[in-house]
């Protein structure tokens, strides 16, 4: 543990610069030109990247066991409390360790590239400055999430990125569908947040602190590392995992992510592929000292992850929207990461987070470039033949494709294989994990090959936009940026857009080499942040690698065998065959989960809410209130008759009263005798 190091006083700038960028855009953005807004937005993120690198170098200059520092997030001050109520104390503090710095690099590095890309992509949008306001705010919250030195600050970032995700999904809010997708994302995440919030409470109730590590070793992870009861570890682990399921789109809370593709494509790349959706994996890795003490929680995480991986892959097989394919592929890859966490291979999970950030951001940006070229078209049935038309996009996409399929030596190969290899050695279900995981890898290679065929290799199926500028009216609404202002016809993207593609392509190609099984520098790097846990292979790593290569090849060759015969249409099945095939229908309809959830929770839930209001509030409770009022009104009406105002009536009643009293007294005195 180190608590003083020279670079620490710069840490606040890492989230601070994007925050300044956000404030600048929020208050002045509308008055500035697009070049100023875009320039500042991109510059602050790259500046954060530079500072992150500098801080990381400072951290790495210390010996391994000292690579952990707790520093203030406010400039020029010691640790300052954010909330302090008795023992409940939470600081504006940052934890600097390999895990948080790794994430900082990914967020600001990949994030900066995507900002640059977005400057080109959004160039024609009227809400340019609003877009970058949200985007910088997102970077700020994401950095808060990973840097915070306690669970509550992570929760702040967690909710903050959710907010930005919501704002960016419904960015083109004139389309009701977009804002509905934003709502769906936020509300489904909210269910996860309940778990997270309860997990936070459980941690505080157990340990009396929410800080991860302190110099005195009194952070809750320090305490947990000394050993806690499995029941507590299970409770905390599962509650937090519910939160992770929301943010990282694990079954059954995965339903929001594919709809989130309604946002502009750079958002899909940055938030819904590279960074935010991996927050759940980061969180589980962060609390790994607790997770490893609960075999139950580990098994649940692994099984949910594995199921999500295979489940989402089956859906990705039949989607026609290029972004939906990538979205389900993201859900599936996130499942792999959780599988890694669940078998105790946290660093393998994080390795996949890293490589996935490279190649999935690349694929999304590439898809964005394709959509851009086709003036807003997202349907792969109306693509084809683009390989020669947009060569830079095409070749970078090829690298992304090879990386996600798991072809050596590209990045995805090493990380996916490490997860599968370590899953195979899991104590109870190892073989199942491995076989299902491998099948998913084959499916992945297949659906990605399908995507490449449909987009690039089959015959051209779209009408040249020059003659049909308004033909894509629907999509021009959802992607007005791409639909307007450009010259007609298919066109390669400008340098602002393809330079990020090229950089990400290089990273996707060689980024995995830092984590080869023979010299796993990545695992070694992360070691100080992660709980020690015995994870081993069922067989020698080299054999695993070989099997991995076969799996990738099988998927790709299957795709090639099938699609090379259908170069004209790009369709394997005819419309009738599709209609008759229940498996195809199930997959194309997302296994009916979205529809079911919509009916159950939105329609019936809304009906239930209205019924509660109508029947309980208005009829039952108000009915009783009104009834009481009516009874009082009725009785007072009765008594009102007594007050007639006639003297004779009052005299009469007095007489009756006197007679009654006297009679009563007489009777009473009689009774005594």
């Amino acid at each position: 543990m180190i608590y003083q190091f020279a670079q620490a006083n710069l840490v606040w700038l890492i989230p601070g610069l994007p925050l300044l960028g956000f404030l600048f855009h929020a208050f002045l953005g509308k008055r500035m030109g697009k070049s100023v807004v875009g320039g500042i937005a991109t510059a602050v993120v790259f500046a954060s990247f530079a500072i992150s690198v500098y801080v990381l170098m400072g951290l790495m200059s210390h010996p391994e066991e000292l690579r952990r520092a707790q520093v203030s997030l406010l400039p020029g001050s010691d640790l300052t409390p954010w909330i302090e109520i008795g023992a409940f104390k939470v600081n504006y503090g940052a934890l600097i360790d390999p895990l948080s710095m790794l994430m900082c690099l990914i967020i600001t590095g990949v994030g900066g590239l995507i900002h640059l890309y977005a400057v080109g992509y959004m160039a024609q949008d009227k809400d340019f400055s609003r877009f970058f306001t949200y985007l910088n705010l997102f970077i700020f919250f994401m950095l808060t999430l990973v840097l915070g030195d306690n669970l509550l600050l992570m929760f702040v970032g967690w909710e903050g990125v959710g907010l930005c995700s919501y704002l960016l999904i419904s960015f083109w809010f004139e389309d009701t569908e977009n804002s509905k997708a934003g709502n769906k994302a936020f509300i489904v995440n909210r269910i996860g947040d309940v778990g997270f919030a309860l997990g936070v409470m459980a941690v505080f109730a157990t340990f009396g602190t929410l800080t991860y590590h302190t110099p005195q070793g009194s952070g809750f992870l320090d305490l947990a590392a000394k050993g806690i009861a499995p029941a507590i570890a299970t409770a905390i682990g599962l509650l937090l995992f519910v939160g992770a399921c929301g943010k990282s789109a694990q079954f059954p809370l995965h339903v929001w992510l594919p709809d989130a593709m309604a946002g502009p494509t750079p958002v899909s790349a940055l938030i819904h592929a590279a960074t935010m959706v991996t927050a759940g994996v980061v969180m589980i890795t962060r609390v790994s000292p607790i997770i490893v003490q609960s075999p139950i929680a580990m098994t649940v995480i692994a099984v949910v992850g594995l199921f999500t991986a295979v489940f989402a892959a089956t859906i990705a097989l039949t989607q026609n929207d290029i972004k939906k394919v990538l979205a389900y592929s993201t859900v599936s890859q996130l499942g792999f990461m959780f599988l890694g966490c669940g078998v105790g291979a946290f660093s393998a999970g994080m390795f996949h987070v890293t490589t996935h950030a490279f190649f999935k951001a690349l694929l999304f940006l590439g898809a964005g470039s394709v959509i851009h070229a086709l003036s807003g078209e997202q349907d792969m049935r109306k693509m084809g033949g683009l390989a020669k038309r947009i060569p830079i996009t095409y070749w970078t996409m090829v690298i992304g494709w090879l990386a996600i399929c798991g072809v050596p030596p590209f990045a995805g190969f090493w990380s996916k294989d490490e997860i599968l290899g370590l899953a195979s050695g899991a104590p109870s279900w190892g073989v199942v994990y491995y076989v299902v995981g491998l099948a998913t890898a084959v499916m992945t290679a297949f659906y990605m090959t399908r995507l490449m065929y449909k987009t690039f290799w089959t015959k051209q199926r779209f009408v040249e936009a020059g003659h049909d500028a308004h033909g894509h009216g629907d999509h021009a609404d959802t992607e007005p940026d791409a639909g307007h202002g450009h010259g007609h016809g298919v066109h390669e993207s400008p340098p602002k857009m393809w330079i990020p593609l090229a950089v990400l392509a290089v990273l996707s190609a060689i980024g995995g080499l830092i984590g080869t099984p023979w010299a796993n520098k990545f695992e070694h790097f992360l070691e100080p942040s992660i709980a020690k846990h015995e994870a081993h292979h069922l067989f020698a790593p080299n054999i695993g690698l070989l099997i991995g290569v076969f799996a990738a090849a099988a998927g790709i060759l299957l795709g090639r065998a099938l699609y090379s015969k259908k170069m004209e249409t790009g369709e394997l099945l005819t419309a009738e065959e599709k209609a008759k095939n229940p498996l195809y229908q199930g997959s194309a309809n997302l296994w009916y989960i979205d529809g079911w959830a919509y009916r159950t929770f939105v329609i019936w839930g809304g009906g239930f809410a209205t019924a509660v209001w109508q029947w309980i509030d208005k009829i039952l409770i108000d009915g009783m209130v009104n009834a009481v009022a009516a009874v009082i009104g009725f009785t007072s009406e009765l008594f009102r008759r007594v007050q007639t105002g006639y003297i004779r009536a009052y005299a009469m009643s007095m007489l009756v009263g006197v007679v009654l009293v006297v009679a009563g007294l007489l009777l009473g005195s009689l009774g005594k005798h």
Partner: protein, 547 residues
């Protein structure tokens, strides 16, 4: 100054109201000026009180006591502790914003503003009174003008006339008042024939009498706090009331109810409080979920906000029912946070209604184009209402839920789902008003906020964020009224084999009971420094409380 401040706060709006009666009705400008002065003058004073309140000392400060009817033990006794000063500041903010919001009112402005200011005097009085006689008097002053304010200046809607709403509100609240009166008289006779709250807190009320007294206090004040199922006056009342009245009512008046339960319950009849706290917690949970469900079923903007108030007041009551410092701190924080956000909500609703002449969200859409500033402010308020971090709502709700987790984990588990439902109706409402297909062209008068409106809504929205990022001043002030919490939990945790203890805190049913038993101990016995212990559950008790 210290001894005058509290009295000044009570008298200032009242004097302005009296002055208003002397101003000719035709002089609209002077009327507004006097009203604004009466409201806004309280602002610097309450800020000054907050700033100079000595948090390290805690307890009641700014005290002033003068005999009133010595034979009956009545004295004009006012003082403020950490909770009071915070709520007093909230009241000043809301009434100032409320006067701004009714700037454009044309119908009998003079009477309206006079009644409004009179009402606020009562609110200040309740928050500051240290004498039960005056507390009740001020309570009635705060509640009664509502009948006229809604009945005369309100609007009818959804088949509910404003007269119906005004009558229902008044009758239900009067029923509550009757219970409060009974409770206060019972306290008076059981507690040594005095109305002075300091004395009552010191002497204590016989334990066997406390159960019934607290029940009367809970139900009596609870009606104003909107406890289920006695909340139905609130949606109709809020929906029918004019903007400033809704702001004040949901923003501040409902807090009087919660404040009464908190103050009298914990200070004077703590045993009764402990006895009923479980029931309170259950009802608060129902409030949270039920209010949110009802809000989901609404399309009238005011009804949505009104039911969300029912839900949020549930959070306040949940924090109180937890009976521990964390929960109570959260509940007062939630009063502040909810006061600010409802003030903002009703101000914006009034603004939208004024320009579009509809409150039906189904008839709106795409308004963000025409009123982007209003959209941003309402979004901030909306996100604060479901407790997004970096807004005050998060701090408040988290503390309330955590307080409940310590007392009854399963209720915390249930009530936290309120944040999902809240997100649901808030986001849907925001989407229906501001996003989606633009219907702006149907509403030619639609435009963004203007000068005074800007001041009102942006300052409220900004406060929500500032308090979320920097809650320390408020939380510390509230905390100084509560016993210091000493957690032995971390100590227990560090002794690694802590499993049994920690597990108990997660699931054990008997630990909460233990906590209540502690609260039930005769109070005041251990600690004579009455000035220092705001809520009478002294530090020593609290230490056991969190064991």
């Amino acid at each position: 100054m210290t001894s005058v401040a509290a009295t000044f706060l009570i008298l200032c709006p009242m004097a302005a109201a009296a002055l208003l009666l002397l101003v000719p009705a035709s002089n609209g400008r002077l009327i507004r000026a006097v009203a604004l002065l009466g409201a806004a003058l309280t602002l610097p004073v309450s800020i000054w009180m907050c700033a100079t309140y000595d948090r390290s000392l805690g307890g009641y400060q700014f005290g002033f006591k003068a005999p009133w009817i010595p034979e009956l033990g009545v004295s004009f006794h006012v003082a403020a502790d950490g909770i009071s000063v915070v709520l007093v500041l909230l009241t000043s903010i809301i009434i100032t914003a409320g006067v701004f919001a009714s700037w454009g009112l044309q119908n009998r402005t003079k009477e309206f503003l006079a009644l409004l200011l009179f009402l606020v005097s009562g609110v200040f009085g309740v928050f500051l009174a240290r004498d039960l006689f005056f507390l009740f008097l001020f309570y009635e002053i705060a509640v009664l003008p509502m009948y006229l304010l809604i009945g005369v200046w309100g609007t009818s809607s959804q088949g509910r006339t404003k007269e119906y709403s005004a009558m229902k509100l008044t009758l239900m609240l009067m029923a509550g008042s009757a219970l409060i009166l009974v409770a206060i008289l019972a306290i008076y006779f059981q507690g040594g024939q005095t109305f002075d709250m300091d004395d009552l807190a010191r002497n204590g009320v016989p334990a066997q009498a406390q159960n019934l007294i607290f029940l009367a206090i809970y139900v009596g004040f609870g009606i104003l706090a909107g406890i289920w199922p006695l909340h139905t006056w609130s949606p109709d009342g809020h929906a029918s009331a004019p903007t400033a009245v809704s702001m004040l009512h949901a923003g501040v008046l409902m807090k009087l109810g919660a404040y009464g339960v908190l103050r009298l319950g914990l200070e004077i009849v703590p045993n009764g409080f402990a006895e009923w706290s479980y029931v309170m917690a259950i009802i608060a949970t129902i409030n949270i979920l039920y209010g949110a469900l009802c809000a989901m079923g609404q399309t009238d903007l005011k009804y949505i906000v009104a039911y969300s108030s029912v839900s949020h007041m549930g959070v306040v009551m949940l924090g109180i029912a937890s009976g521990n410092s964390t929960g109570i701190n959260g509940s007062v924080m939630q009063m502040v946070s909810h006061g600010l956000m409802t003030g903002l909500f009703f101000a914006v609703v009034g603004l939208v209604y004024e320009r579009s002449h509809t409150r039906d969200v189904l008839k709106m859409g795409g308004f963000a184009k025409a009123m982007p500033g209003v959209a941003v402010c309402l979004t901030v308020g909306g996100f604060a209402s479901f407790g997004l971090p970096a807004t005050s709502g998060f701090i408040a709700e988290f503390l309330c839920f955590y307080g409940m987790w310590l007392a009854h984990p399963w209720l915390a588990l249930l009530s936290v789902f309120g944040i999902v439902l809240t997100a649901f109706y808030v986001l849907r409402a925001l989407q229906r008003i501001f996003l989606g297909e633009s219907r702006v062209e149907n509403y030619p008068d639609l435009r963004d906020a203007r000068s005074t409106e800007w001041v009102a809504i942006t300052s409220l929205a900004a406060l929500l964020i500032v308090l979320g990022c920097w809650p320390k001043p408020v939380v510390d002030t509230i905390g100084s009224a509560l016993p210091k919490q000493v957690s032995s939990r971390s100590v227990a945790a560090s002794a690694s084999g802590m499993s049994a203890h920690a597990l108990a805190s997660l699931s054990s049913p008997d630990e909460p009971a233990e906590r209540i038993r502690v609260l039930r101990q005769p109070v005041g016995a251990a600690d004579g420094r009455s000035g220092r212990t705001g809520l009478r559950a002294d530090a020593q008790n609290e230490r056991v409380l969190v064991k």
